[in-house]
Symmetry: C2
Subunit: 256 residues, 2 copies
């Protein structure tokens, strides 16, 4: 039995060949999806389709899908040399704490809660928030290569509005505080003590409840919510200025 | 536009037809996978296969896969009228807190952390632990129908052993306390403050560290770990006797 290679993500320059795949940087480049698209995982059937499948046209479901595995993204700094990305150490991993609106990070599809595994070939494990931010600062402005795991602390739950347009959650300050009896939210197992991260893939963190209500109202009958336990959320935004979250966070609707 | 049905999982007897699908109980029964198999979600490609795909023979990965969507299972009590299942209210949802070894619950593939959405057609949202346990007690011994969401608080990370057989985590009392520099665990973004739930799909909760080390040693070069944040784990096992966890928990290797 051939020995397993000792590393999973070594410098790509060293890993020429794995299980018969050509894995030089050039080969990877040729196979990357078109610019602007970030997902390298194979597109599969949308999740959560079982007894009552969702319409194949559910863009919200596709935008919200938390993709398994990891992806490689290329970030390019803006004219002021900024990425618009704030990183934080959580449990010895590096996570996206903030993505500023209209920033390179927003453009390339990074989202709150994404775990950054590598920056320019270096593993981020054990880095302090400060070290991670420094790595971004020192990186080449024309391309920063990051290996990212998709929002590991989050999950999605898809619900249907009832005849009055409600899904059955009461949300206060972005947190689910109660579930309505006999509602889609209750039936599908939405939970209290969770923060709403996204509605149909659109980041709603930092939105005032009023704006969040409008987003929910405009969401169509099938709503895919991305949620995170409140205890985890609060750990992730520790020392992040609430003003920054409210004013600067990217709330654009992701491209598909 | 036809109105969306107001519920996602009503009593199946009422939901004869949805989007052109025949959904009477008979129709569902005909389409259930063979007895003993519990997954109703479509089998897709194993997750996490990107730049360095895992061998297609990774049984551990398949056993550990957290399946999207929900599944319906049929539980049958044992000769003493027991299910071997302990349920708990977490955040207004009902979760599997304990699965006893060699019990009907173990047989049917229920695992620690599964969320139970329905018991015999009734939504569990907002039930107390006591009410959930009572529902099991009062249910017909020959068949309890449950709708289950697969381990929503958990996630999987796949790592490779290095040439000395190590993955690069230090585990104490079932919790990851540190990551070894330049290890597969570090590279793949395993995190501290997480409990190990499974190794290659086999439940390791409640195992002594010594036994857990043996399971890891015997696991083969590719190891898929199922982890849960410690804060969530401790919330889920509150008031569950540690003695029960250590002595009674099912640790069998799941069938594929």
């Amino acid at each position: 039995v051939p020995p397993e290679p000792p590393v999973l993500y070594p410098s790509l320059a060293e890993l020429e060949n794995y299980m018969g795949l050509a894995l030089t940087s050039e080969e990877i480049q040729k196979n990357l999806p078109p610019e602007g698209s970030t997902a390298l995982t194979p597109a599969g059937p949308p999740p959560g389709q079982l007894v009552a499948p969702l319409s194949g046209n559910s863009a919200g479901l596709r935008r919200a899908e938390i993709k398994p595995g990891v992806r490689e993204i290329h970030l390019c700094k803006d004219e002021r040399g900024k990425t618009g990305l704030r990183l934080k150490n959580v449990d010895e991993g590096i996570f996206v704490q903030l993505v500023k609106a209209n920033s390179p990070a927003a453009l390339v599809g990074l989202r709150f809660g994404d775990q950054v595994l590598q920056v320019d070939g270096q593993s981020c494990a054990g880095w302090s928030s400060r070290r991670a931010q420094r790595a971004l600062r020192k990186a080449a402005p024309e391309k920063i290569v990051m290996v990212v795991r998709d929002r590991p602390f989050q999950r999605t739950v898809t619900v249907h509005k009832d005849s009055t347009g409600h899904i059955g959650v009461v949300v206060k300050k972005g947190k689910i505080v109660s579930l309505a009896k006999d509602s889609s939210a209750a039936r599908n197992g939405l939970l209290t003590h969770h923060c709403l991260c996204e509605v149909n893939g659109q980041n709603v963190i930092g939105m005032k409840d009023k704006q969040l209500t409008e987003v929910l109202a405009g969401a169509g009958n099938v709503v895919t919510l991305t949620i995170i336990p409140t205890v985890i959320y609060e750990h992730m935004v520790k020392r992040l200025s609430p003003g920054l979250v409210k004013s600067a966070m990217d709330h654009s609707v992701p491209d598909l």
